[in-house]
Amino acid sequence: MSAFRAILAKDLRVELRTLESVPAMALFAVTTFVLFRFGLDRDSLAGGLAGGVLLATILFAAIVAVNRLFVAEREQGGFDAIRLAPVDAVALWAAKAVALVIYLAAFELVAVPIFAAFFLDSWAGIGPLVAILALADLGLGAVGALVSSLAASSRARDLVGPLVLLPLLVPVMIASAKGAEQLLAAGGPSYSGLGKWLAILALYDLTFAAIGFAVFDFVIED
């Protein structure tokens, strides 16, 4: 447990000092919104289109963070440092997953209001949307940390990471976009059946958390 906290604290400290991930994600997202505005030739979005644009942008911004997640470990011998210590490999995965969730939350705090300002006529659905994004972020964290660690030791790592990650994120996309579609509907948010999408997200999160716990030992050893 103390190892988990030490690694998470280290990651957050480095991010605050270098600001390598979160600002890039936010900038990327805002630029992507502009691209969508012109690509779709729409200046206002609702329902499924709004959900899709928002979630797709979040997923692609997550890739930016995923690519950077294990950079320090890879380039500065960090895996060795952790493996020499009496530390459970899982602590590393958990710390990275939580760090990724924190980066996503921080970035969404900026990106979602901007999205709403750019495209939405009503902010009514934004509140409940937080629940969907929170569950989606947990899933992104669990899977992102695992895939990032696999890609970290490979050549062309910035390519392999996203390549493997994106198909794995399809269920997250499906469930969160469907949920967002209802919450951002033109006539106002609707809540019926929302539970189904939250349940899928929760199931996804639990599944990949379990997998991460089970296999990460094998990712770390040499």
Binding site: S2, A3, R5, A6, I7, K10, R13, V14, R17, T18, A72, Q76, G77, G78, D80, A81, I82, R83, L84, A85, P86, V87, E221, D222
Partner: protein
């Protein structure tokens, strides 16, 4: 300097006396089917110092990494501190101090933060800051403690790596060219930090053949192809023979 050389195999479980610090038999390690270490065997008693010599590419670094549990053997048996590797690697972690080619310090942390991080990984929680401060003083780095690691010179990094290696008071030190980049004054400081002590076993890789053999109880010399040219008491290997191994004539 204690010279207990246990040549007996590891003792059975019920015997409370510890076995040799290191017991390796027929160790082979391959990378992509190319052997880097061939059939290496060695014994090192507790509290003793082993000098590992050999030309570049002879597998010295690989051997140290295997002993540190950072690499698995391809075949053969490796026992470190009564634990059979790689199966029981978890029993060894936290009892070994390792200096390799990378200082293993995060470049965007300050020196103090980086060492404190390692201390916390090794569960030194309450004692962490005191221990870190004590070590920084010992190698004369207390003034640069709040510098970012990326701004430190190679010599400072090497001194810091030495601090990191002994932070948790390990029973076994695995030192891969620990005096690299060090001027004579720094060398003395690090030497003091890494000196022999009761209960502390050391394996040292060095290119300074005479000094290494001088400070060691046992020696292991590897040929360029990763096989053993000599394994035995340090006095049994003359500097001349050692140099011949480097040039490939033995």
């Amino acid at each position: 300097m204690s010279t207990s050389l246990s040549t007996q195999p590891a003792r059975p479980e019920h015997d409370t006396a510890p076995g040799p610090a290191i017991a390796v038999d027929g160790l082979t390690r391959e990378f992509d089917e190319r052997p880097v270490l061939r059939d290496v065997s060695l014994r090192l008693g507790r509290g003793a110092t082993l000098a590992v010599l050999g030309p570049n590419g002879s597998g010295k670094t690989t051997l140290l990494r295997i002993l540190a549990t950072l690499l698995r053997p391809s075949s053969g048996s490796v026992g470190v501190l009564d634990a059979e590797l790689p199966r029981e690697a978890w029993r060894v972690r936290g009892r070994v101090g390792f200096i390799g080619h990378d200082p293993l310090l995060y470049r965007d942390l300050t020196l103090r933060e980086a060492l404190t991080f390692h201390a916390r990984l090794h569960r030194l929680d309450e004692r962490a800051s005191a221990r870190v401060a004590e070590l920084l003083r010992a190698v004369s780095l207390e003034r640069t403690a709040d510098e970012l690691v990326r701004n430190l010179s190679a010599g400072m990094l090497q001194r810091a790596a030495a601090c990191r290696a002994v932070l948790h008071e390990p029973e076994l030190l695995l030192l891969d060219e620990p005096f690299d980049h060090l001027d004579p004054a720094a060398r003395d400081l690090v030497s003091e930090l890494l000196r022999t002590a009761p209960g502390r076993t050391r394996v040292v890789v060095s290119h300074d053949v005479e000094a290494a053999l001088d400070a060691a109880d046992r020696a292991l010399a590897l040929r360029h192809d990763g096989s053993v040219a000599y394994e035995g008491p340090a006095p049994g290997l003359s500097p001349g023979d050692a140099r011949a191994i480097y040039t490939g004539r033995k």
